[in-house]
């Protein structure tokens, strides 16, 4: 079964384009609360990956500017989309360090829409997207 296609530039481009199509047509709730003119990138510690429909949520701890930490909730695609782009419910574990890039909320609350997540081993995971090409042996191009 198909898993990740995010690890090649072609895969990223295809998946990003397809995700845009998918989000326009298929998303399950409003995206208007996210400020898509801004991107934040932060080092974070995983609290929990909420593996659920219709969309998954990555809960992380991010340091604030007062010396403390704050929980952020970051939204990704549905489990099926994530599975087909290399995720699993066990991909990240509580306590693991990650770097998250996301569109923040317009109202300043601690949540966002995931753009990418860099794992401890350097893998770059997207927010879920359309499947990539079939395996080479059955490719049609």
């Amino acid at each position: 079964m198909q898993r990740s296609s995010w690890h090649s530039p072609r895969g990223v481009v295809i998946a990003a384009a397809a995700l845009m199509i998918a989000q326009v047509a298929l998303a399950h709730h409003s995206f208007v609360m996210f400020d898509r003119t801004r991107q934040l990138s932060r080092r974070a510690t995983v609290k929990e990956l909420e593996w659920t429909n219709p969309h998954c949520w990555l809960h992380v701890w991010i340091a604030d500017d007062r010396g403390g930490v704050r929980e952020w909730r970051l939204e990704a695609g549905p489990p099926g989309m994530l599975t087909r782009t290399g995720w699993s419910s066990h991909l990240v574990k509580p306590g693991e360090p990650v770097t998250v890039t996301f569109y923040p909320m317009k109202d300043g609350s601690a949540a966002g829409d995931i753009i990418k997540v860099v794992l401890p081993d350097g893998r770059v995971m997207g927010p879920g997207g359309a499947p990539g090409p079939p395996p080479a042996k059955s490719a049609h191009n």
């Binding site: 199509i21 409003s30 099926g80």
Partner: protein, 255 residues
């Protein structure tokens, strides 16, 4: 195996929901046997540059947004103005389900004379009857309507009426207010309970499925419009379960 299990569960659930026993629905008339080639996991060719360019879906023609009735124009505007209308988890109607999107796999399975079509991201499948070519006199409205069919050669001609008119518009429900792309001011294309869709479903070859669709909906549009959509056979893809309301329906509203 996961896909197979999902398929079997789907077939079982749907056969039972139809008020039939599996034994009864396992009957396959000689003509329905021709639908066997439709079965499998498919991916729409929209946005898939690796697929054969001869099999790319077309847009609706003529443009439905140029043919709105007053009710259709008002409904389209209502949907555009969102937010989150008509809601988060409404199923896709038959026209929306057959759009040929590539974001999620489409599963087609056969249970006797019943052809089942569903896309992973919706929870209500289409049920296409291959053992009758006419609709009941009084069709109770449903999300997917009543679909009957007959064969013209190797093409399954499907006729659908009886939708409840509450499903997402033909181009998805998202209005500019709720799309991630702020510049998307594409008019929403609603359907009403008067929608009538005729399709011509056929395998163009073992790896590509074609569906020619023509819709009339006199409550919403002044004329009919058509398009052709395609899917690429993708046995390598997992078909995962999807239940829209696992989490609170509008998860972002919890912020």
């Amino acid at each position: 195996m996961k896909s197979l299990c999902a398929c079997l569960l789907l077939v079982t659930a749907l056969a039972l929901s139809e008020g039939k026993s599996l034994a009864a629905s396992s009957h396959v008339s000689p003509s329905s046997a021709k639908a066997a080639g439709f079965q499998g996991i498919w991916l729409g060719t929209q946005g898939t540059p690796w697929t054969d360019p001869r099999y790319r879906s077309t847009d609706w023609s003529p443009n439905p947004a140029k043919m709105f009735t007053p009710w259709g124009a008002a409904e389209s505007q209502r949907l555009r103005n969102g937010p989150d209308t008509p809601g988060d988890c409404e199923p896709y109607g038959p026209g929306t389900m057959m759009s040929g999107w590539s974001a999620f796999p489409t599963l087609i399975a056969q249970a006797g004379d019943l052809l089942l079509v569903t896309i992973e991201v919706t929870m209500v499948p289409r049920m296409i009857h291959m053992d009758r070519a006419t609709h009941p006199k009084d069709v109770d409205p449903t999300w997917e309507g009543d679909s009957v069919s007959h064969w013209e050669g190797d093409t399954l001609v499907i006729d659908t009426v009886g939708v409840n008119g509450l499903a997402r518009p033909l181009n998805g429900y998202l209005a500019p207010a709720v799309t991630p792309n702020p510049g998307d001011f594409t008019p929403r294309l609603p359907i009403s309970d008067q929608m009538h869709m005729v399709e011509r479903l056929r395998l163009v070859n073992p790896d590509y499925l074609e569906d020619q669709q023509t819709i009339t909906d006199p409550k919403t549009y002044a004329g009919s419009f058509s398009r052709t959509t395609y899917w690429n056979r993708r046995p390598d893809l997992a078909y995962d379960e999807f239940f829209c309301s696992d989490r609170a329906q509008n998860d972002s509203a919890k912020h």
